[in-house]
Amino acid sequence: MRFILRAVLLLVLLALVLSLPSFASSYYLGLVIKIMIYALFALSLQLLVGCTGLVSLGHSAFFGIAAYFVTLLSPESGAGNMLWLLPGAMLAAMGYAVVTGALALRTKGIYFIMVTLAFAQMAYYVFHDTALGGGTDGIYLYFRPEIRLGDWVVLNIDNQFVFYVFTLACLLLTWAFLALLMRSRFGAALTGIRVNEQRMRAAGFSTFKYKLIAYVIGCGLAGVAGFLYAAKDGYVNPELLAWEQSGLVLLMVILGGMGRLWGAVLGAVALTLLQELFQSHALFGEFASRWHLTFGLAIIALVAVLPQGLAGLPEQLRNRRRSKSISPASAQ
């Protein structure tokens, strides 16, 4: 019963998502694409933060490296081939992740946060201070990569709708992949490591290996998001690697709810839409240019009422209802 309900819900959702381009303007389609890219990005971080307990404040580095990778290696006069650009971008991100991850994982907790930040800042300054990627001005990607076999163009994502579907597919694949991963033994081990690493080692798990693999996978997926981002706007800038960007995606994960995959997606949707909402002159008039204020207050309010993030809301309500039915007793 529950399963059928879910399946129907899913189908309706899917139909809605697929028909979106027919009624949304190209701007809103773009907005949805952006949300999906951030959702993918947040998902990749959720694997680290929520699932493995590796709070990284340097995740934007991998996003940015992949974005720069496609942009720098795409030909200027025609579309590049996604068949190697996408894996290449992922590999570039993963390569940096292997090196920095192996080092950063020697530390724990807040120190890990800061070391990841440090490595991200290093990457940031490479693009910011050298001419490699056009310096602070950034560089353009003139043509979205396409899938090409020999001379046969299998998929061209130039069209906004195609790009939309392509992004959606990437998001869903990533989501499904992570969901499977977390249900597998590997995922269970990650959960164990998050909760109590000492015990996992005592049981016989080489936790370092697990963490490193999770880290590299997460960073590779961030690379996918970076690839899509570069393809979406065709413009990359060092600010893509800035710590503010890492902070933003971390906020998405926290707001959405840690440890639950769909929390990351919810967080990305919520944070992006809130920004959009408060910046809307149509709704807020002149006050829209003071959107930082409303946005900030909204975040504070959300933290206040959602101790477990958006994804924890149903559980929270359930608990509330239950504890109402019996007389309440709260631990302090």
């Binding site: 597998s184 033994r185 590997f186 959960t191 164990g192 109590n196 005592a202 016989g204 798990f205 080489s206």
Partner: protein, 248 residues
């Protein structure tokens, strides 16, 4: 059958200026419970950590099944059959009791690219069930581990150590916080495990120690002051003044 599974020679471990373990040697044999007792701060927990690979010794070597494992990291030793429990409870409070054990049991089935959901991993489910049963927690499988009472958590701690089918068990005060009933059950369990395992038992409960152990090592201030069978230890005046006291 007395086969030596684990032997440690001349282990020394220092923390800064403090020598927590001072030239300690001991052997763990299949079929025997080897108790390590000693004053508080004698270095017993440190010894367990050194044997299990959590801490590196400053000096000395450790052999397991005739292999030199001194340089092996802890997970590798664990996979080779070395299990330990902790003096301070280290469980996964957010998971259920059964999941706790299943998770540790999976250490024996780490196939990276196996994608079956954990809940359907038969072998580890079985191992978990068995371990819970042994530790006397079979009815509690679905309870959230963090909500167990202190004693319950201690039992779970043991169950988790057992779930990986270790051949050598290092138990750091497994009876602490357990009621008499559970203590009894635990001792019976140890007695039944003895035939297949080599067991190192760190414990302050002297009744239990003298009841179950075959061999006792007494440590004071990092050094071994006595070693022998329970009767001789009980009679040893040195041990009495340093550790046992003149209990009624």
């Amino acid at each position: 059958m007395t086969q030596t599974l684990l032997s440690a020679q001349h282990i020394t471990r220092r923390f800064g200026g403090l020598t927590a373990i001072d030239n300690v040697s001991l052997e763990l044999k299949r079929g025997a419970v080897h108790a390590v007792i000693g004053t508080n701060g004698a270095g017993k927990s440190t010894l367990v950590s050194v044997l299990s690979g959590e801490l590196a010794p400053n000096e000395g070597t450790i052999h397991m099944n005739q292999q030199n494992i001194t340089d092996w990291p802890q997970p590798r030793r664990a996979r080779a059959g070395l299990g330990r429990s902790y003096q301070r409870t280290t469980i996964f409070p957010s998971l259920t009791v059964h999941e706790n054990c299943r998770l540790t049991a999976q250490a024996n089935h780490q196939h990276f690219w196996s994608w079956t959901p954990t809940s359907r991993c038969l072998k580890s489910n079985e191992a978990a069930d068995r371990a819970l049963e042994l530790a006397g927690l079979s009815g509690f499988g679905d309870q959230i581990a963090g909500l167990l009472s202190h004693g319950g958590k201690r039992q779970l701690e043991i169950a988790m150590s057992l779930s990986t089918h270790p051949s050598v068990l290092l138990l750091d005060e497994p009876l602490a916080g357990m009621g008499s009933e559970e203590t009894d059950r635990m001792l019976n369990l140890l007695a039944s495990l003895k035939s297949e395992h080599a067991i190192l038992l760190v414990e302050h409960d002297m009744d239990a120690v003298f009841r179950i152990s075959d061999e006792i090592t007494v440590m004071v201030n990092g050094a071994v002051i006595a070693h022998g069978d329970p009767a001789s230890i009980k009679a040893n005046p040195l041990v009495q003044t340093a550790y046992l006291g003149d209990d009624e």
